[in-house]
Subunit: 237 residues, 2 copies
């Protein structure tokens, strides 16, 4: 291709970033948490921020999000999904930066405290998020809304739970995500009717006298059912 023909060379270029909305569920406190950091460069240095960074020249966008996630948490192979791209000219007060947000779901117990401590990362309950820089509060609100939709129509909630859990714990998770109380009988009936859980022989005896059986999600059943036209639907209205 000759220089003259290459349209691309005459086009203005942009700073492009990714920002990560990292959700986790605290089983003990029964709270949906979000991982925040204190921003370490100007403008807005020292303010609460989503973890983020610029997309490198030779780096796929999703890889940039995975790099940031790995640097902060030490985790690979995490549930990660693109949320939205924020492209208003004045959204970042330092320069024009186009930013794509991604949301990740990680298990609380998997985060290495040492790694986390190094970067000054901090868990904040989703219901008590402080003022974040730029449009980061909007990013969180949109991702939370998407998470609420997703856990209704896909079994992604299990990404936030340990391998085995009680039905009470599973419902607590949904109540934390939706930030409201749900009817216990209805909820149990709906999740059990989908036949995606295996009931184990062990019981959790810490949280109730009679004890509550542990369950396990079976991804293979979900794949099989889905191939046959099944829709996950945990309608929580």
């Amino acid at each position: 291709m000759s220089q003259r023909d290459n349209v691309y060379q005459r086009i203005p270029r942009h700073l492009v970033a990714v920002d990560c909305i990292i959700f986790s569920y605290d089983l003990v406190k029964k709270v949906l948490d979000l991982l925040l950091i204190k921003r370490d460069f100007e403008p807005a240095i020292g303010k609460w921020s989503l973890p983020g960074g610029f997309v490198r020249e030779d780096e796929d966008m999703e890889d940039a999000a995975r790099r940031i996630l790995y640097n902060l948490t030490g985790l690979k192979d995490v549930f990660l999904e693109q949320s939205y791209t924020y492209g208003n000219v004045t959204r970042d007060t330092g320069a024009r930066v186009i930013s794509t947000s991604y949301f990740a779901l990680i298990k609380h117990q998997e985060i290495n405290d040492e790694v986390k401590g190094k970067h000054g990362a901090h868990w904040s309950a989703v219901s008590e998020i402080p003022d974040l820089i730029f449009d980061h509060n909007e990013m969180v609100a949109r991702a939370l809304n998407e998470l609420r939709c997703q856990v209704r129509i896909k079994p992604v909630g299990f990404e936030l739970l340990p391998e085995t859990f009680t039905l009470v714990q599973f419902q607590d998770l949904y109540e934390a995500i939706y930030h409201r109380i749900m009817d216990k009988r209805n909820f149990r009936r709906k999740i059990l009717a989908m036949n995606l859980l295996e009931k184990l022989n062990e019981k959790d005896k810490v949280n109730s006298k009679r004890g509550a059986f542990y369950y396990r999600f079976i991804p293979e059943k979900y794949s099989e059912f889905t191939r046959n036209g099944f829709y996950f639907d945990l309608d929580v209205n």
Copy 2:
């Protein structure tokens, strides 16, 4: 801010584009259409492509999408929603270009043929889309999937119909979007039960002997119902 402190200056910049997936519904042919153009610069000159363009320095991303839409169709105030951002390094064979896709819904009759002709734009039935450049077929597939979700949970289908329409025409639209036949009685019952349509006195006598009453969607009712906790749900499973 001193030069030294300004992190932004040392960061590599990227070409950023938007691509538009412009859907329209042909009431006569009963077909969901997509607006395509022949690409007019290298690489891949002359190949079928989504209409798109680069984001300017002082331009919000959504404004870039609206500019492209306006240049091609002469339309403003069109239903437009962001779909997804494609950020793989090698997706465009000419250079590394990050592209955000938007999907638009326009009424067939509103497109000015003269404007359209100038740019060599061409309507293609969604079920018969040719090979498009780069990852544009993937962009269309994702947007079509989003459109299917949206018309189920929001009254956006009316964006594709004239002000007044028969129930048969409304169902034809859904059948074109989902590319399958639906049960007539069920469909009518569900849409009428939501009380969002006004039945007019006029009849369409062209398409049947007995004639079919025209209806009109009432956005004010939808807003009012939504404020009171109503969910639009035209479940077409």
